[in-house]
């Protein structure tokens, strides 16, 4: 019997590239991006990201990249050439799996046939299109630089260019929106037949223009938002979508593999200002400052905003907080093995939640939240964290 049949498997790795450029800022958005047109910054960014990727590639020889995600900002606005350069750099410096999921985010106003064909040729195979609403008035209110007709046109272009995995981003709980408006948005978008839909509740983030005028926005109350959420879950399920995360739905098992890494404890490396990583036991975030990022990479300075080594006990909390967002859920044996903590105290909380139809168990006994449970998941997770705090490590498994 041969002692070594093959090299040990490489560990999977996700890459996130933050592209911090937009045509204009949306009123609700607190992601880091700039509307600059200065070549110095745009070229500087491209050089810095590529250099950063080269540096990082050397540190990850035992990893195989199975997902790459270009988010922003607006990657499609940054343009095909830039994205292609970055992707090429990635391939040169990392071992990228042949079947890797490679996604870019696009806005309807910056999708062209040329861009799509170029990226398709570079191996991009998934597009996340920011549609948000089917109502032009609403899009205007949100500060989106496009109409719904543009969104539909963009969607068809993407499809025609050969992308077979398209995701559409939608928002609910918008100013003045009612349940019926939202239902219409869903119905309209479903006619496009996307593989994947994300539905996000509008959240008023500090420091955004919306935060300034919050009180006059006429936002739907929590009750209405809850109804909207449940309506989305119901509608999408009826159309063959599986809810695999609080805000994410897919057909044909086409989950966002990259995003799933965030929720199931996978490793990922982030590039570009404000990008985050969870790699080799450490979680870190880069500075939210393009110039500082460029200078830091060029001169070898500090680009970290925050770096933390996460102890096992804290990982146990993250396990609850993140996995319960998904339909993977949590499992007694898995939990006890991973963290050497007893599951029983958590089970008490979950049993109690089962009575309110907030939690349920799958055929294999894994605990998952129901849509009603997702809606109050903070409340459930904090109950679980409290129960976890009070538990002492297992002596034996």
């Amino acid at each position: 019997m041969p002692i070594l049949t093959k090299r040990p498997n490489k560990r999977p790795l996700g890459l996130y590239i933050h592209v911090p450029f937009c045509r204009s800022k949306c009123q609700y958005c607190d992601f880091y991006s700039t509307c600059t047109k200065e070549d110095k910054l745009i070229d500087g960014y491209l050089d810095a990201v590529c250099d950063h990727i080269k540096e990082a590639g050397e540190l990850a020889p035992n990893y195989k990249v199975d997902t790459v995600y270009f988010g922003g900002g607006t990657p499609s606005y940054f343009g095909a050439d830039g994205l292609a350069v970055i992707m090429t750099t990635i391939r040169r410096n990392f071992d990228v799996d042949n079947n890797a999921e490679i996604t870019f985010e696009a806005n309807p106003d910056s999708v062209s046939d040329r861009l799509l064909h170029r990226l398709r040729a570079e191996g991009f195979n998934r597009v996340s299109l920011g549609v948000q609403s089917d109502d032009d008035e609403m899009l205007k209110k949100l500060g989106r630089p496009h109409t719904y007709a543009q969104a539909v046109a963009a969607y068809h272009k993407i499809r025609k260019a050969g992308f077979r995995n398209i995701s559409i981003d939608l928002m609910y709980g918008l100013p003045g929106q009612d349940l019926q408006d939202w239902q219409e948005t869903l119905d309209n978008v479903l006619r496009l037949n996307p593989e994947h839909i994300s539905c996000y509740a509008l959240k008023i983030e500090e420091g955004t223009p919306f935060a300034q005028c919050k009180d006059i926005l006429n936002l739907p109350d929590d009750e209405t938002q809850a109804d909207m959420y449940l309506a989305a879950v119901e509608t999408l399920r009826g159309r063959g979508f599986r809810q695999y995360e609080i805000s994410n739905f897919c057909r044909k098992g086409l989950v966002s593999k990259h995003n799933m890494k965030y929720w199931t404890g996978g490793e990922y490396l982030g590039f570009g200002p404000s990008a985050s990583s969870d790699f080799a036991g450490k979680r870190y975030t880069l500075k939210r400052d393009l110039q500082a990022y460029i200078a830091g990479i060029r001169e070898g300075g500090d680009i970290m905003e925050d770096i933390q080594e996460i102890p096992l006990r804290e990982r146990a909390g993250e396990y609850l907080m993140l996995r319960l967002r998904t339909n993977v859920g949590i499992d007694a044996q898995e939990y006890e093995k991973m963290f050497l903590l007893p599951f029983a105290p958590l089970e008490d909380v979950l049993e109690q939640r089962r009575r309110f139809f907030h939690a349920t168990q799958t055929d294999t006994g894994r605990w998952v939240l129901t849509p009603k449970g997702y809606l109050v998941s903070n409340d459930i997770i904090t109950d679980l964290l409290l129960a976890q705090d009070g538990s002492s490590p297992l002596k034996r498994i």
Binding site: A201, E223, I246, R283, D306, E318, T382, L385
Partner: protein, 602 residues
Amino acid sequence: MTELSKIRNFSIIAHIDHGKSTLADRLLESCNAIDQRIRAEQLLDSMELERERGITIKATAVTLHYTADDGETYALNLIDTPGHVDFNYEVSRSLAACEGAVLVVDASQGVEAQTLANTYLAIDAGLEVLPVINKIDLPSARPAEVKAEVEDIIGIPAEDAPEISAKNGINIHSVLEMIVKDVPAPTGDREAPLQALIFDSQYDSYRGVIVYTRIKQGTVKPGMDIKMMATGAVYKVVEVGTMTPTGLCPLDELGAGEVGYITASIKTVADTQVGDTITTVENPASEPLPGYRAVQPMVFSGVYPADGAKYQDLRDALEKLKLNDASMSYEMESSIALGFGFRCGFLGLLHMEIIQERLEREYNLDLITTAPNVVYRVTKTNGEVMMVYTPLDYPDPMEIQLAEEPYAKVNLIAPQEYVGNIMDLCQQRRGEFKDMVYLDASRVELHYEMPLNEIIYDFFDALKSRTRGYGSLDYELIGYRPSKLVKLDILLNGDIVDALSFILFADNAYPRARKICEKLKENIPRAQFEIPVQAAIGGKIIARETIKALRKDVLAKCYGGDITRKKKLLEKQKEGKKRMRTFGTVSVPSEAFMAVLKLDED
């Protein structure tokens, strides 16, 4: 012993913020009593809390040696008095240790309610009152008018009152000369049987209780057996001496007319009640000095550890505080809702807040405090008369023949444009208008008789807000009067939360019940199920609110960069849950208890 003619015993009285403590500091400095290097602002207010709040909580005394313009050196004993209505009795005992009082009046604000109240206390104690006009450096100062006010309103000559600025050290010398010239020297027979007035005491872990005293008659020396005439406690004197700004200075003896301290290995301040008379066992005085009164807490409230496991810590903390504060009382109490805790008695709300703050700060405790209440007197149908200290003990309405509540005489002073507002407020608080006096062209003093209970609930805050801060208040207990009282119970999800029950005037029950239900609704987080919040009197529901079931509490987005941030958010939410008390099925944060205490009337 200092010759009687070379002693001056005086105190400084003032309305809050008129500069009493600052003047005291300047007097100390002028007598070189303070080493400049160790000088902290307002030396006499030594408690951290005192300095922060700008009020004097405990009385202190200090002896200064001042060489006057006549070339003689005098021992000036300055007795600093507490500055709040809650501590009126303590003030009166400190004044009884003096022959004179320096009355500090703010040159722009003029005479205020406490200026008057304290002056009357001083005049009642037979003191020579010497006005001083302070803060003359302020642009708004109007010393001439204020002097006229003092003469008109208080009726004491103020023509020659020194015009000073304690803050800037202007004219401090003239205050010292005035004290020497106008405060009468003490009298007394140093051979007579000992009569020493206790005006304060303080617990020291090395010496036991340090008794601050004014010797009225006779002489006290180490080794003497002394007796507290009211409490009957007997001790052997270890040390006597005077207080200096830098510490205690032992002497061979203290004689009539002098102010100083006595230590006698006394274990608790409960044995050295303020106002009591010390005499000797061997040659006792025939009677105690007049004016002693056992201190009665007026306001009671349940004090519980927010974390039930900290009960013992709370007990230890109260025990230690009590060593130094005889006016606070505590007794074990248990509530179904809050578990074990204490029913504590306080002189007033300020006193209550101070004790709570000290417990939380100095002993690092997280507390839940129940609504404060006064002591009610209930005559039962079987003739038994009981004093009710806690709503938990309030008898069933069927058993009550007569319920009575304590009343207070309230003096309010404010600019005349606020008279309407004050009258409205007092009427709402069941005040009985007595009379109204114009103090001068623009200010009015109103007299009311009002249930004490109405005063302890944010009355002072309400007064301040209705008079834009210009109104001032002083009150004094005048006895019990029959009243229509009811006990209001609060039910959460159908269960009575005993810690939220309280006694109140029947006619106020409906509006207050509604308000409390609203407040609780705001402060109790939504749960998985609907929670009815009800208020009831004797089983009859009179108000109801519903806390709807929690439907939405979710982080819609959570990707790579959000994890750290959202983890913190959940961590915070979790910590909030930790601080909640669970009653049956309902979790109540300690803030909900606080919210019920502060029912804004507007």
